[in-house]
């Protein structure tokens, strides 16, 4: 990428892409793979647990909502930056969300049988520093999770 980007705080130092079908068994695989990749940043156990949990929420949304009645493709990209921030993008080409603001409200759920808590986006928001949701009905959703890791590095 352009040379002038080299010294900006968000200089990317590594990137990892994983594409997988929307099978629920892959929820664990996706967060384990992301966790293994992020480990090179030497995060605390708590930070890693938070990120894995947030990833789990985002991937579950793709499986349960975006590709509700079909199998689709989920693309997860993990970016690592020099300033110790981690950006995880989880993208699907599924049904999309008509009202993102409403979907992000705590306890909002489209689920009728009462087994879903409606807390997915709230959890993602709480466990990261920034949550961005870009969605287009019928075309898909991209969820971006940004977390700044501790400055100490090795403990």
């Amino acid at each position: 990428m352009p040379r002038q980007k080299r010294d900006v705080p968000h200089e990317e130092i590594n990137k990892f892409v994983l594409v997988f079908p929307s099978l629920s068994v892959n929820e664990g695989a996706a967060r384990a793979a992301a966790g293994a990749f992020i480990a090179q940043m030497d995060p605390t156990a708590g930070e890693l647990a938070d990120l894995k949990c947030a990833i789990s929420e985002a991937v579950t949304n793709c499986i349960v909502h975006a590709y509700r009645d079909r199998l689709g493709r989920i693309r997860m990209t993990v970016h690592l930056y020099r300033d110790r921030s981690v950006l995880i993008e989880i993208k699907d080409n599924g049904s999309g969300i008509a009202d993102v603001e409403k979907a992000r409200e705590p306890l909002f759920t489209t689920d009728a049988d009462g087994e879903r808590s409606g807390m997915g986006f709230t959890v993602m928001e709480t466990l990261t520093d920034r949550l961005t949701v870009i969605s287009s009905p019928g075309r898909g959703t991209t969820v971006k999770l940004l977390k700044r890791l501790n400055e100490r590095g090795r403990r």
């Binding site: 929820e27 664990g28 949990c53 349960v64 087994e115 879903r116 808590s117 709230t122 959890v123």
Partner: protein, 114 residues
């Protein structure tokens, strides 16, 4: 090795059913647990359901939905629900959503010794 397989063991003592859950509880794991545990609840019709969640290293909101669902199932039929030794991951999710105020939690003597 990806530890994504949730499993449980159950023990019946009088009208109390104790279910020990282990594994990472996400949507995938919760689906499997729900199927097995609800069948058991249906068969045994316990007065009290004790859900032991010490061996749960990771839990997301699907796991929370799983706890809430069993809580509802047992309390709606007049029984009581107790969460025993929830792991840090479980406690975090409960606190985050305010559900910790609603559910009775107990620490077993084994957990208190550690």
């Amino acid at each position: 090795m990806i530890k994504n397989e949730c499993s449980f063991t159950a023990e019946e003592k009088g009208r109390t059913l104790t279910v020990v859950v282990s594994g990472e509880i996400d949507h995938h794991g919760a689906t499997a647990l729900r199927r097995g545990i609800d069948t058991l609840i249906w068969e045994k019709a316990p007065q009290e359901l004790r859900l032991v969640m010490a061996q749960v290293p990771l839990m997301d909101s699907s796991g929370l939905g799983f706890i809430m669902g069993r809580f509802r199932l047992i309390t709606e039929s007049g029984g009581s629900f107790v969460l025993v030794d929830p792991s840090a991951a479980v406690v975090k999710m409960l606190r985050l959503t305010g559900f910790d105020k609603k559910v009775r939690t107990e620490r077993s003597t084994a957990a208190l010794k550690n």
